[in-house]
Point group: C2
Chain length 471, copies 2
């Protein structure tokens, strides 16, 4: 049965059940996404103040067959936060439910509402000398509900895991409007199926997360940064294994960068000072965080000596101050902006098994060369096998010149990733952008199970219709 629109009659019916000013006409910012690919058909947004109000909204939508688009910070990159076609859905934003409910330093835990902004959760943890390790470029606007709905990744995944690994418990409104009160702060709880992990990463298609119990981590007493020149991606991976042998879990970031990234920085952001005249073909930026009494710079220099001896690094800089560390990270953090200024023909958020990174890199370039001439910027969270593999036009041409090759490039990259046992969406999710990819590359038994679960829990298909699974 097709969904019903969130029209005037529906809005009147729902408004009668909610406090004044809960429903409003949607603004432009609620109907867009960062890449400007799509605009939402939604006309109304609900801004509930409590879990009970979310429950009322979902129950009414279930009764009337109106679709719901759960909206967090709206920073997603795959169109999961809007519906560009079909009957107008109701947007449900949790921006009014943004409280940090409680912080438990002795337990290393915090309980927050799903509308809380990531940076605010980070600050609340820092206030009690703890770390909430989830960290990514959009942390100033991304909200916890969206971050968990999409199982966000980011910089610190190597040490602390993905968003799902930060969660002790959830509260959520299920597609029939019932409320699952699962906000326990337990490290061990084997009482039945793990709904928490089932909901996380389903992009709002099985319910709306309204609150979360989160793990906090101890704050490393001292951190250190090194920028190391490596002879090859394979050497980078062997360096990582060596570093983990020496430093255990204390490595919080291990970013592989190709020369192209630095060339783009020089071209588009020439004011950023680079630590070399000619960037090396491959380099690694790594961060470590150690306990009290340890000296990160010394540990990194010990690592450098061993790695140099083993021909795994040829040159390098160990930051001797926080300012120097920040200067090195500034380069990495501006790479996305430089990329945007150059203008990619096609960008790929992919992962492969760590051991397959060298083969992926050595095969992807020649495969793409058969489709044309490109500049390739390959960089990313190599410690997680997660590369941002972005394809750019050669100087003198623009991405507009290659619009008709975009699909062929994407398929070329994704086919190779799939062949190597990788993922065509490492961090960003499926949303609406990658529904076709999921159908092409997904395991058939898994897809069938997903559809069965979706139909059983959301028989009318009201929750984020068309995201992840075709509506």
């Amino acid at each position: 049965m097709p969904l019903a629109p969130a029209d005037h009659a529906f809005v009147q019916r729902l408004s009668a059940l909610l406090p004044d000013d809960t429903l409003r006409p949607a603004e432009a910012r609620h109907r867009e996404e960062p890449r400007g690919r799509w605009t939402s058909t939604a006309e109304w947004i609900a801004l509930p103040r409590s879990t009970e109000e979310v429950s009322t909204i979902v129950r009414t939508c279930a009764e009337t067959g109106v679709g719901i688009i759960p909206l967090g910070g709206g920073t997603g990159l795959v169109g999961g936060q809007l519906k560009p076609d079909g009957p107008a859905p109701l947007i449900v934003s949790l921006e009014r439910m943004s409280a940090i409910r409680s912080v438990h330093p002795q337990e290393n835990a915090a309980v927050v509402q799903a509308g809380a902004i990531l940076a605010d959760v980070q600050s609340a943890a820092a206030d009690v000398d703890r770390l909430f390790p989830l960290s990514l470029a959009s942390e100033g606007s991304a909200r916890i509900g969206g971050l968990l709905g999409t199982n966000a990744g980011g910089i610190n995944t190597l040490r602390y895991g993905n968003a799902r690994d930060q969660v002790l418990g959830l509260e959520a409104v299920l597609p029939d409007g019932s409320v699952w009160h699962g906000l326990k702060r337990l490290r061990k709880d084997n009482t039945g199926y793990d709904l928490r992990h089932l909901l996380i990463g389903t992009e709002g298609t099985l319910g709306i997360i309204t609150a979360a119990s989160l793990k906090l981590a101890p704050r490393p007493a001292a951190t250190g940064t090194a920028l190391l020149t490596v002879p090859s991606p394979d050497a980078a991976l062997t360096l990582l294994a060596l570093a983990r042998g020496q430093l255990g879990e204390t490595i919080s970031a291990f970013e592989l960068m190709h020369r192209t990234g630095f060339d783009f920085l020089a071209e588009k952001l020439p004011d950023l000072r680079q630590p070399w005249d000619t960037p090396p073909e491959w380099s690694v930026l790594m961060d470590i965080g150690l306990g009290r009494g340890a000296d990160p710079a010394e540990a990194l220099e010990t690592l450098f000596a061993a790695a140099h001896e083993a021909d795994l690094v040829t040159d390098g800089i160990v930051a001797q101050s926080l300012a120097q560390s920040e200067a090195l990270w500034t380069l990495r953090e501006h790479m996305s902006e430089a990329n945007r200024l150059v203008g990619a023909v096609s960008s790929h958020d992919i992962s492969v098994p760590l051991g397959a990174i060298p083969e992926f890199i050595s095969r992807a370039g020649p495969a793409l060369a058969r489709l044309g001439d490109w500049r390739i910027n390959c960089f990313g969270h190599a410690g997680d096998g997660n590369l941002h593999y972005n394809v750019f036009p050669v100087p003198g041409r623009t991405k507009a010149d290659h619009v008709d090759q975009r699909d062929a490039i994407k398929t070329c990259v994704h086919d190779l990733v799939h062949e190597l046992g990788g993922s065509v969406s490492a961090e960003h999710g499926i949303g609406r952008l990658k529904v076709d990819d999921l159908e092409r590359y997904g395991d058939p038994a898994k897809l069938a199970a997903m559809r069965t679960i979706k139909s059983a829990l959301d028989p009318k298909g009201i929750m984020n219709p068309g995201a992840v699974l075709r509506g």
Copy 2:
């Protein structure tokens, strides 16, 4: 519709589809569980050699409506590994599928079949200087499939997480016989619902795990152990927070022990040398594992000095050798045996939020005293909020004298755990022992979602019928 029995006709039909000697009469060891509470009604066991054979078995059971009991090492403590009533099910053991398929030291990963024994996986990791951190008393016989099916816990959870946290990917046969090929070795993969976490911990009620990609960890270069006397459980938790501040994630075990445990050791295992004449009321046994160049004994002595200064510890021993460390752990490891020899009236595998441990301990004793006179041995993985809270008769009486009080004791303990936001099954799962508890204490919306998922994926209810959810 009731299930059909795995009778002679069924066995003939299934045998015709499988190699000789795949089906056999079940032996006594396949039909028992460690606590001797139940005996299985099963008469036949299938011993497949491949995932395809598992698929054939499950598909045939789905067609005929015959129940399946997936069997790992058979070490579970809640009766999930047998069906004591109703039509005879077919036992499916993966003991012939026990290969370590591949080990990837550079990636810190390994791929194993589900029948692999935990100790063999630990050895395969150690052979390449890596650690597979899952560790528990039954590791010499527990198999990976059962450990993941039950989301096993154990000693190292504080540092490395539960069984589910060790898994990168799974291969599994779903209740219709289809095979999910999900053995990816990826750290980041956001392509659809996380079937991996859905299957883990469902105790075989949604499918049979046939293989797993597992995470390995770097092996700590140097480990250290301390046995510390603490003035109270609250001091123990503040000590843990202090220790995590100083030592970060390097604390791999933090076991709280009450004097009763040492009294039982002295009574039942007098040859075990204890490090004191009179055991303290509360003590903590902690382990740390550090990177190269660090000195664990020195780090523990620094911690001891700070904790002593803050009145969090009153006395303590820092092991100065591996032998001394092992001698301390021997005490902890023999506590279960001493408990068995004394004979508990009722044992409880519970968890509460870390901050609620002191309140739980201070309220549970007086609440139980209203039911009679007891000796209580409270010990366990305090770093995870997971306590084994066991109730024993006073000297001169035996557990047989209190059989009729068992339920009242259990309810008293579980009601308090529930009130404090805890779990009545921290590590061991639901199996058949705790189906009533799940119904009593489980969140109604969660239970409804579990039943919906179970019915949708396993409409005939053939997978481990009666475990977790009432059949």
